[in-house]
Structure formats: C-alpha cells, structure tokens
C-alpha cells in the first residue's frame, strides 16, 4: 500500500488572516511540503498541472525534478497530467527525462482538466475532452514502447519515423494512473491498458467512488490483466487533525467555510458526513481512512490533499507530523486481512523485474 499526498498548487488567501501567499512562496511551500512528506516516511508526492490563476503548478516536471534532487526515496507523481491539452510527445520526453534523473522514481496520473478556456488556449476544444484523452494517451503509450513511431491522428501533427528521446529508463515506461470522478470512459481506458485507476473522491459521496471503481475492476478482468481484485486502485482523501478533535473542528472551520471548492455551501458537519473529509483526532482519521476499503476493496494508493483552502505552510507541516504519527497504524491496518494475491502498485523496480521474468524462456 502506497500512502502519500497530492497538491493542486492553488494560491488561496488565508481566511483567518486575509494574507495571500505570493506565487514564489507557494512554489517553495510545495517543495517544503514534499521534503516533509519524505521525512515522515510517505511513499508518494503528486503535483497538479494547471495553466490558469490561481494555480502555480504549470511546470510540474521542473518542480518534481527539484524535489527529486533533494529526496532519496519518495515516488514523484502527478495530480494530474493534462492529457487533453499537453502534447503527448512532450509528456513522453519530459517524464522519461525525469525517470533518468531520479532513478525511476516517477509515475503519472492522467486527467482531462475541467476549465473550459484552458482548452482553446492550447488549441483544443473541451467538448472533445474524452476523445483527446483517448487519442493522446494511445500515442503516448506507443511513444514509450516503440523506438520508432509512425502515427497520424486528429489532434496533433502526424509523426513519420519519430523517436521520443530519451528512451524510458531501462526500457520501461512509467506506470500510469487514470483519474476521473464521473466518466466511465476513463475507467474503461484504464482497464483496457491494465493501468491504474484513481478516484479523487474527496468532494463526492463514497458510494460514487465505489461504482466507478467496480466498473474499472470488472473491465480490468474483462481485458485479461488479472482478477478484478488485482486491479490497481487509488483514492483521494482529505483530513484536518489535532490531538483534540474539537480543536481540529474549531481551527479548520473558517478554512472549510471559505474553501474555493466547497466553501459557502454545506456545513462542515454535513460535508464530513457526506464525503471522506475527516476533521478530528488522529484516531478518527485513522479509522475513517481504513474504512475506505469497505467501498472499493483492498487498494494500492491513498493520496491526501493537505495544502489547500489557504492553510499556512506551518499548519500543513504540522498536519504531516500528525500523519507521520499514525502512519505505522495506517500501514498495519491496510495490511490486515489483505489477501496475498492483491498486488502492490507497480514501481519502476517491480516493472523492470516483471519484464525480466517475461524474457526468461519457459
């Protein structure tokens, strides 16, 4: 089981002080948070990609490389890589380079992006979102696996005799997750390729995540990649904790009430009962998180959103210290009752080993 954090890199005013961090501060904070994640023993740090204010995360491989240079162990991922508006050739090149620089500590999560104007700014049309995700990923998949690619599609200029360089580290493509909240087409795509499926269910009732994950698992088996319960599932999560649960609620409420996504809507109490958001003691966060398995089965990756809604860096780092304290219990809890045939999420080393196995003559 991989445990980690993801960030979308939003610049948001702290509602309790009225102070807005600068872009510079926010980018440095993302790095500080990532280094802290490695320090407390998390497995994954994933950064978003956005091309519009109030986000600073437009160049994820630059930031990830900087983090990679200062860490030894943590896996670098994305949340998400915009497969719709980013040229698949650039994705192939950028992330293969990152693989080489970090010794293979790289995977990606594909997403479509739901901000309409970003599409035309990159010469695309949001109404083609699914088609862009399907065609662009089909090309990316080939660029990492075939040394010379001839290709023609609807969304980019054709390629004749093209080689994406550098070739992936050890000839093994980075593992890919496909993220979607409500598009069955994306669950189908993840299943078809035998890739991972990530449901960022932090803003939605867990029953919805359960439906999408069930579809992905059934189709993963249908396409012959293994049994349904061997498919690679990731979930989002969100918490705010203090030793005293009442203190957690008191401190988080103004951030909740003014949060960019759900603020000025339902009460904190309603929202925590309807979605996976947990505001309370470390023990409550531990129990709620371990309960996610009831909806989706034993899964492979749990990522938490911790730096959002204008929370100051100091508070975010404190949240990670608290997460670090329950991390051993989280790991033990996720291991409990987990059948031996349920795989871990593939790492670079595991993918290299799996390929070596395949190459051994029977």
């Amino acid at each position: 089981m991989q445990l980690g954090i993801f960030s979308v890199g939003d610049v948001t005013t702290d509602p309790t002080t009225g102070r807005t961090p600068t872009e510079h501060e926010r980018i440095r904070a993302q790095v500080a948070i990532a280094l802290k994640a490695e320090e407390i023993g998390l497995d994954v740090v994933a950064l978003g990609q956005h091309h519009n204010p109030p986000f600073v995360a437009s160049a994820p491989t630059t930031t990830l490389a900087w983090i990679g240079a200062q860490t030894r162990r943590i896996l670098l991922s994305t949340a998400t890589t915009l497969i719709t508006t980013t040229d698949p050739v650039r994705i192939a090149e950028d992330y293969a380079t990152l693989q080489h620089l970090t010794g293979g500590r790289v995977d990606l999560m594909m997403g479509r992006g739901n901000t309409g104007p970003v599409y035309p700014w990159f010469g695309k049309d949001i109404r083609e979102g699914i088609n862009l995700a399907v065609e662009n990923y089909a090309l990316l998949h080939r660029l990492w696996r075939e040394d010379v690619v001839d290709w023609q599609g609807r969304f980019r200029t054709p390629l004749q005799g093209f080689t994406a360089t550098p070739r992936p580290l050890d000839g093994v493509a980075p593992f890919v997750w496909h993220g979607s909240i409500r598009s069955p087409e994306i669950a189908e795509q993840a299943a078809y390729y035998g890739d991972g499926f990530f449901h960022n269910h932090i803003f939605w009732p867990p029953e919805h995540a359960a439906q999408m994950v069930r579809l992905y698992r059934e189709r993963f088996e249908h396409y012959g990649h293994g049994r349904a319960d061997q498919a690679y599932v990731g979930l989002g999560g969100q918490f705010f904790m203090r030793k005293d649960s009442q203190a957690a609620v008191r401190e988080f409420r103004p951030y909740f009430d003014n949060a960019p996504v759900y603020g000025h809507g339902p009460s904190l109490e309603d929202f925590t009962s309807q979605t996976p958001l947990t505001v309370g003691s470390p023990q409550q966060v531990l129990e709620r998180t371990l309960g996610f398995r009831e909806h989706v089965g034993d899964y492979q990756r749990q990522l938490f959103l911790v730096d959002h809604a204008g929370l100051p860096l100091k508070t975010v780092l404190e949240q990670l210290d608290l997460l670090g304290e329950i991390l051993p219990d989280l790991r033990a809890g996720f291991a409990e009752g987990r059948p031996a045939h349920v795989p871990d999420a593939p790492t670079h080393a595991a993918l290299v080993a799996a390929r070596a196995d395949q190459e051994v003559p029977a």
């Binding site: 699914i130 862009l132 399907v134 609807r154 939605w204 996504v261 809507g265």
Partner: protein, 209 residues
C-alpha cells in the same frame, strides 16, 4: 402502472402553488383510474424542502440523499405536473435551480403539464413565454393547455375547466408513449460501458456534434 410526479415550487404554507398542483394531480389520477386501484402512483416533490440541498448541490457538485431521491423520481416519471409561482415575470429561482440540476435527458419524451400561480392574471403569459421553452429545451412533450391560476381564479369555475382539460391532454399523451421508460439511469450506464475499441474509433472519427 403510471408513475406521476407532481413538482411544486410553492414557498408558502399552505401554498396556492401546491394547491393548484394537488388539483391537477387529482384530475390526472381520476382519469387514470385511481391510486387505490394501483393504476397510478403519485410522488410529490416539494421544492421548499429542498431549498438548502439545492444550494449545496450548486456549491459541491453532488446531490445529497433527499435531493438525489427527488431527481431520481423525476427521472423515472412517466408523466410530470410542474407548478411554479411567478416571480419577476418568470418561474421562480428555486424552480429553475431544480431544473438546472436535472440530468440533461431526465425528461426526454416525458409528457408534462406546466402550471403557474401569480397575484394577477397579467402574468399568465409566463406559461408560454418561460415554462414552455424551458421544457422544450429538455425535450419534454408539453400538453397544449397550460394552467395559470391568479388569486381570483380560485373562486372561478373556469379554473376547474382548465385543470380538467390539461389533465385530459396529459393522459392522452401518456397513451401515446410507452409506459415503461427506456432511458438508462446512471447505474445502468456504469453497468454497460462503451468498449474501449469503440472509444478509440470515436476519437478518430471526428466531432459527434
């Protein structure tokens, strides 16, 4: 068995909008042979109870339990009676908000009676200038007679005539449609995904409109 949903956006308690909705429902039920005989099942959706859940739906993007049940009822309706008070020369904001969060195809092909209440008969064109185009957008089949009730109309026999005529038209429209709906629900869509080869083909085939 016909599933009739009666949607009312009345805010007062009691509400003249809900009173008009009840009269329309009763007229439809009578023509269909009565609830007790199991010919028709009536579900009432009172939007006043859903005012907070609707605001939450706008801010969070998902429907809470009670609102989800109301949306599901409308989605599964064989026929709909929709009644709104007139505010600022149109349907009320609450009424429109409910329509805003309906699935785009929730009422496709569904027979609908539109009705409205207002303080004065001078608002009666709201039926044809606001409600009718709204339901046309949803591809519902709107009965030719809409029913408008100003305060005065509740003392006028003409209202009953219009209620009966609209109810008769709704029942006639029902007989022209299949009684079981064929629109897939969200659950059914997830149970029957489009195979990936087909998605690939579509991606290469060009815009679908």
């Amino acid at each position: 068995m016909t599933r009739l949903v009666v949607l009312s956006a009345g805010l007062g308690v009691p509400s003249s909008t809900t009173l008009l909705a009840d009269r329309l429902a009763a007229a439809v039920v009578r023509r269909l042979g009565g609830e007790a005989e199991g010919r028709v099942e009536v579900e009432r959706v009172e939007l006043r109870r859903l005012a907070h859940p609707l605001a939450d739906r706008l801010t969070t993007g998902f429907a809470g339990e009670e609102l989800a049940a109301a949306l599901e009822a409308v989605h599964g309706a064989d026929a709909l009676v929709a009644v709104t008070p007139v505010y600022a020369a149109s349907y009320s904001g609450l009424f429109k908000t409910f329509v805003d969060v309906l699935d785009r195809d929730a009422l496709e092909g569904t027979p609908v009676v539109v009705a409205a209440t207002g303080g004065t008969p001078r608002h009666s064109m709201v039926l044809d200038h606001a409600l009718r185009p709204l339901f046309a957008h949803l591809r519902a089949v709107v009965a030719p007679t809409g029913v408008f009730a100003a305060t005065d109309d509740f003392g006028d026999a003409g209202l009953d005539d219009r209620v009966e005529r609209a109810a008769g038209e709704l029942v006639a429209l029902l007989s022209g449609t299949a009684t079981t709906r064929t629109r897939p629900t969200e659950d059914e869509r997830l149970a029957d995904p489009t195979p990936f080869e087909e998605l690939l083909r579509r991606a290469g085939a060009g815009p679908t409109g």
